[in-house]
């Protein structure tokens, strides 16, 4: 059990709920900026799952995975936001349905 005696089940349930809301956001929104924000939520949910599992077994590994995910999120956000700026400059919109250059 972790320091505050929170059951692992409830932490995992919270993490699952956050993950699912973020996933719904990725699927629902059509603005690239919101899709990136929803991806951040999803990564945060995974972080919560790792840290709570690490706290539950009293190991540091969960927090190390959290740090690795954090660096991944930082790299992803910097490249993604650069792409968003380029898309906005080239097309004048952030609507993914109107970006059809990759369509065959």
């Amino acid at each position: 059990m972790n320091a505050a005696n929170i059951p692992l089940d409830h932490l995992m349930l919270l993490s699952c709920m956050i993950f699912v809301i973020g996933l719904a956001g990725v699927m629902m929104r059509r603005n690239v900026l919101y899709i990136l924000m929803s991806l951040e939520i999803v990564l945060n949910a995974v972080c919560l799952a790792f840290v709570s599992a690490g706290a539950h077994w009293g190991k540091a590994d969960g927090q190390i995975m959290f740090m690795l995910i954090l660096s991944l999120a930082a790299a992803e956000v910097s490249v993604g936001l650069g792409l968003i700026l380029q898309i906005h400059r080239k097309h004048g919109t952030l609507d993914v349905d109107r970006l059809k250059e990759l369509q065959g």
């Binding site: 059990m1 972790n2 320091a3 505050a4 692992l8 089940d9 409830h10 349930l13 699952c16 709920m17 956050i18 699912v20 809301i21 973020g22 996933l23 719904a24 629902m28 929104r29 059509r30 603005n31 900026l33 919101y34 929803s38 939520i41 945060n44 972080c47 919560l48 840290v51 690490g54 706290a55 539950h56 009293g58 190991k59 540091a60 590994d61 969960g62 927090q63 190390i64 959290f66 740090m67 690795l68 954090l70 660096s71 991944l72 999120a73 930082a74 790299a75 992803e76 956000v77 910097s78 490249v79 936001l81 650069g82 792409l83 968003i84 700026l85 380029q86 906005h88 400059r89 952030l94």
Partner: protein, 175 residues
């Protein structure tokens, strides 16, 4: 009492990320996103992971969200963007994904409560994290640094033509 704060924090996180997903104004959703990462830091702290909580506040709420805020500022989204966002997401369109996501949540919850989980009482501090990080996980640290380097180069490459073009444009306007 600890349990009460945990559940209150979870409610705050869930409502704030729901507002991130629903809101039509980019700045409002960013503020909710910052709120959600702060609440997440509270939960980390409560669980006995103070180092992770500090990193969550410093890196997520401090650095990544500032990047988002700067990009929203550069995009200069106004009232027109809010209206456009409303037309982009009419009420009916999200029903299918939302239903599927709710089904997935029910499935995950069902699987989670199937078997009981064993328990141990400890809190993990920064010292232990550091010892493990630079011991068995040293290769992972190197890989993360390479990833960050790649992110840096990528962001610079993507941002550079933008800077050059806008610089020449202002130059032309001046002359």
């Amino acid at each position: 009492m600890e349990m009460f704060t945990f559940y209150l924090t979870s409610i705050i996180i869930l409502t704030s990320i729901l507002m991130v997903v629903i809101s039509a104004n980019a700045v409002h959703s960013l503020l909710y996103l910052i709120l959600s990462s702060l609440a997440m830091a509270v939960i980390f702290f409560q669980m006995g992971a103070p180092f992770a909580a500090a990193l969550e506040v410093i890196v997520y709420a401090g650095a990544i969200m500032v990047l988002f805020v700067f990009v929203v500022m550069m995009l200069n989204l106004g009232q027109a963007a809010v209206e456009e966002e409303r037309t982009l997401m009419p009420l009916g369109i999200w029903r299918g994904p939302a239903l599927l996501a709710a089904l997935l949540l029910a499935e995950l919850a069902f699987l989670l409560f199937q078997q009981p989980v064993a328990s141990l009482p400890v809190a993990v501090y920064a010292k232990q994290v550091g010892i493990t990080l630079f011991g068995p996980y040293l290769l992972a640290v190197e890989l993360a640094s390479i990833l960050l380097m790649a992110g840096l180069v990528g962001a610079y490459h993507l941002g550079r033509p933008l800077l050059k073009k806008s610089a020449t444009r202002t130059h032309v306007r001046e002359s």
